[in-house]
Symmetry: C2
């Protein structure tokens, strides 16, 4: 389906400022591209600070602040002013981390990338992957240093902490599920 309008309609900051149609302030106010972009870059900066690469961070922030929660590759490139190659790399990374998923639009080669509204942050806590790797490294440490040495004992305690953490996180996420449904309904 060749639809140039589809490609051009991206809601990014490149969109020309529209004339204020209705001064009615009671309904959801129109998205302000500049404000959105400011947020995107600011939030991305926090993610970078926390260790995420820049481009995945920006892509993710853009998705998070999009109304439908999905954007196409072209829309992302337009909004963030980057090449398709950069988008491709970023999305691959985010998908590996389970922070976004990819959907194919039926009857098109175009892909949509989606942030799983209520689930992406679980991926953050299910950094179980990270915790597991740390545990493995610490076990190796206890081993090479000897469980009876001071250093070995220090490391064994750290290891115990991570194992504890691991269990706690699971329980905590269950509590969150309950808490969440009270506040937001089971949507």
């Amino acid at each position: 389906m060749t639809d140039p309008k589809e490609t051009a309609r991206a809601a990014g900051p490149a969109r020309p400022a529209e004339p204020a149609e209705s001064p009615d302030a009671a309904r959801p106010r129109r998205r302000d591209p500049v404000a959105v972009s400011r947020f995107v870059e600011g939030f991305a900066a926090q993610l970078v600070e926390a260790g995420m690469q820049r481009m995945p961070a920006r892509v993710f922030a853009a998705l998070l602040s999009s109304d439908p929660g999905t954007l196409t590759s072209a829309e992302l490139g337009e909004q963030l002013q980057v090449s398709p190659a950069a988008v491709s790399g970023a999305v691959r990374y985010l998908a590996q981390q389970h922070m976004v998923s990819r959907e194919r639009e039926p009857g098109s080669r175009r892909e949509r990338y989606r942030v799983h509204g209520d689930q992406w942050y679980k991926a953050l806590t299910s950094r179980e992957t990270v915790i597991r790797r740390w545990e493995a490294a610490l076990r190796e440490g206890v081993d090479s240093l000897g469980a009876d040495s001071p250093a070995g004992r220090r490391m064994a305690e750290t290891l115990a902490f991570f194992e504890f953490l691991d269990g706690e996180i699971t329980a905590m996420m269950e509590r969150w599920q309950v808490h969440r449904e009270e506040r937001f309904g089971g949507r």
Copy 2:
């Protein structure tokens, strides 16, 4: 105090292999510099993976695997084969993150850097700092997107999750304290 032996005795891999003095394998076995170094570099690599800069990661791993839990700048430089400048920078970073503390040896200009055995990993969870910054960024997001827009609602929920997290972490650390004393005694 001018004491060259003190500087030279660092337990790093540069130390010449000692002749096996006692074949007695029942006591805590002698630290094997090669094994220690392997662990240090491996653990540092995990920390790097998780977002820490390389040099702080290596310094930290070295401290963690030292028997007394402290090392001097010279010892670190020797063991890791880096300049004093690099050690200085790394330690400054780690101290800011509350992962190590600095102690001055009385009657000497020499400083010791210490990993607070049972407390450093609390610094990891008291990444409250990080959580707080994320919360701030998300609040700004809800604001600029409008709390009544789909994107705004998505962000409000994420924000709620972080606020929940924040409280849970505190409670969890208290539980850990108890758990820890059962297992390791109140040392």
